[in-house]
Symmetry: C2
Subunit: 457 residues, 2 copies
């Protein structure tokens, strides 16, 4: 389908006109019109559409045209909406939808469901598929074993290109997508792989073992999916064999699945750094959204009270010189921002494994130096503002020095706290924010009000 100039700005084929047509058909209760409006859409676009319309419209759509929800559409849906659709679907339509999926997609759907729905779907599968899904579910959550597809294309390591081609031609069934023929030893342990491009280009008598790829590596089924995504991205892999503890081939992970994991991990980091529960979706209900955000707001309330109690220590100074109350938010705000900058760089560098014991010390030193330079520049700026505003030179000097101290501490807290949390096996993206801003608020208020008490009063 060619992307005409008309939709150059859009990443997909789901136009607003299309959504309107679907909603009109639902409104008019016309099943045939609804089917016609949905028919040209890719499953990913039908899923996007379902996520963008309201819950009532979703229920009406499913009731009017249940067969629009095939397995691929279910796979593409966000967890919350998917659960809703699965409840709304007639059981027969649900059974048919899951039967057509690859086992890795069934596993992905099952993971988020209640036990009762899980049992129904498992029973709906053909027995081969059920066994494959159940053995995938035996691997830990978030592991490579849950991400892989069980279907593999293999050849004995001593085969030639011709033998491999004859074998593929004779196969009754092949995976939808595969990119390598995996060479295995007699114990079914992968020992190399050959790209399909090379199989096609080589003469029939060439031994497969002579045209294997250097990029070959295996992944243990117990490894974290987030690690798998990093490995794919770093080493430019397309597909890679997954092995059990004994090194035997149990499945294959392909890059499209790794790309989805990478995307999810990024979303998680970005939302967690902003204090939002990582599974948040735009289709969440109001109640779910509140539940995802209140915990972090409550933590922030505690730390804000802590910072305010520092201000409370200097009530007397503020009563004497109210300019202190006017200027103190500037110091705290700048400290919080500088700390957040360093924290974001650090969290990202930890996530991509760019920050390691080999360079940690140098990076800490660099951030400290950056903090000093930022502090000097911003200290001069805020000192000038205070001088012009209140006409008291010493007030300018005090706030400039407080700014310098706060931005130094902000830089060091912004790198030290994520590093420490990482060492303690706590996700730095999740927990760094409250700690860093608490430190910068407390230090900012204390430095400014304390210094002012000493010098100005």
């Amino acid at each position: 389908m060619e992307q005409g100039p008309g939709n150059r700005d859009s990443a997909d084929d789901l136009s607003q006109a299309r959504i309107s047509a679907v909603l009109a058909a639902i409104e008019a209760d016309e099943g045939a019109a609804l089917a016609a409006a949905l028919e040209p859409l890719h499953p990913a676009d039908i899923a996007d559409l379902l996520e963008q319309i309201s819950a009532a419209e979703r229920r009406a759509l499913v009731a009017l045209h249940p067969s629009a929800i095939d397995g691929d559409v279910l796979s593409e849906l966000d967890e919350g909406v998917r659960e809703e659709i699965i409840e709304a679907l007639p059981r027969a339509a649900l059974a048919e939808a899951v039967r057509e999926l690859d086992t890795d997609d069934v596993v992905d759907i099952l993971e988020d469901l209640e036990t009762q729905d899980q049992a129904f779907i498992l029973e709906a599968l053909e027995s081969d598929d059920r066994v494959a899904v159940e053995s995938a579910m035996a691997w830990p959550e978030e592991s490579a074993g849950r991400l892989m597809q069980a279907e593999t294309v293999t050849a004995p390591e001593h085969w030639t290109v011709g033998q491999a081609i004859d074998h593929l031609r004779a196969a009754e069934w092949l995976p939808d997508q595969f990119y390598h023929v995996i060479l295995v030893d007699p114990r079914h342990r992968p020992v190399g792989y050959v790209t399909l491009g090379r199989v096609l280009a080589a003469r029939r008598e060439v031994p497969l073992a002579s045209i294997t790829e250097d990029s070959f590596r295996t992944i243990e089924a117990t490894r974290l999916q987030s690690e798998v995504a990093l490995i794919f991205n770093k080493y430019h892999l397309i597909s890679t064999p997954v092995v059990d503890g004994a090194g035997r081939l149990v499945g294959v992970i392909t890059i499209d699945d790794a790309m989805i994991v990478l995307d999810d991990e990024h979303e998680e980091d970005l939302l967690r750094m902003a204090g939002v529960q990582s599974e948040a979706a735009l289709s969440d209900s109001i109640f779910e959204a509140v539940r995802g955000r209140v915990p972090w707001l409550a933590v922030n309330l505690v730390t804000a009270v802590l910072a305010s109690s520092v201000v409370g220590l200097f009530s007397g100074a503020i009563e004497t010189l109210v300019a202190l109350a006017v200027l103190m938010p500037i110091v705290a705000s700048m400290g919080g921002n500088a700390g957040t900058q360093t924290m974001a760089v650090t969290v990202r560098a930890l996530a991509t494994r760019e920050l390691t014991p080999a360079n940690a010390l140098r990076v800490v030193f660099r951030e400290g130096a950056v903090g000093v330079m930022n502090g000097v520049i911003m200290g001069l700026g805020v000192g000038l503002v205070a001088l012009l505003w209140f006409g008291t030179p010493m007030l300018g000097v005090v706030i400039a020095l407080a700014m310098l101290g706060t931005l130094m501490v902000a830089a060091l807290a912004g790198i030290a706290i994520p590093l420490l949390l990482d060492r303690l096996k706590i996700d730095p993206a999740l927990a760094s924010g409250p700690f860093v801003t608490t430190v910068t608020d407390v230090v900012g208020f204390f430095a400014f009000l304390g210094l002012a008490s000493l010098v100005l009063l």
Copy 2:
């Protein structure tokens, strides 16, 4: 290379012991030991190593063993370090390194270089490659045309499987990685594609046109790379033909390149939301890091002064009741956090195209409702804190109401500001932060201090 249990925690093969061995060899000035330590490493690991050691160590490594820096290593390096290495490399070694690369990788390297180095590298290329690189450079920056590889594998639309296989076997040269045979019409316009798996599995007399994939779509060379990455991720593409304005095939983009773009876009969003220049790298110098962060700190200084001037309006009230100065940072801090939560959800939803005109109104309404509920919960909490702390019931009521109002405004600002910036074609990740926190600070101070002036004084 199997990942043994010893390095299960690591996403790569670059151990600390390996880095130490490399540094020891550099220290001892032993070229042979250095070569031996680098030899087993993947180019991506050599690049990581170069990024983790100091600038002086990098120069020493290049001087001692320039041939360790091949084209693949150059491709993998961060921009800043790559420029440094290119300057340090003997010209002959540089010429050899770039000659072995695919044209899309040469384009990627050229983009970041000074004109003088660009000219040198272009001259080092063989003439075919030079023409391909120059025509790729003719496409706009950040476009699909710059991302694609010019090398394609095509077949006339009327060919059979057997003709395609014979053609591939006879080809003198094929791309390193290719996943489809693209069917083209007589004007070289792509009309479909066949996966290599299907070519291998089908009998020789089967027409290619009968086994094409539904997933086929083309991408215009002028499209933004960020859009291309979203399309790959959404529609699970592996490779896709790139066409010029007349629909003629000009190249192919593969998923590994799309995955790198997706990763870079995420990094940019995360850093921009935290106020860090998007190209920031851990290997930046202190000066580069300061330059990347001062602009946003300067913006924040201006907005913080604005918020402080609101406090200044109420100096009299603060002099009368110093508790106001103690409690006011709590309101501002909570507002800032709630606004950041909503902003992160919105920026992310805009980036992934989940937030569209179809659901914008419903999402705005939802966020408003979430703001009210958060405001009620946190208002009760902070009211109780104020009551217990200062023993004045009305002070508790005032701060509770101010909190409710601020969190409502925070929610609406957190969604409205990114939406508005997006409509104005400004990257919401870049510019939303300062606007949202300025709004929440100003509203928070004004609501709390204003209400207190009315009710308490």
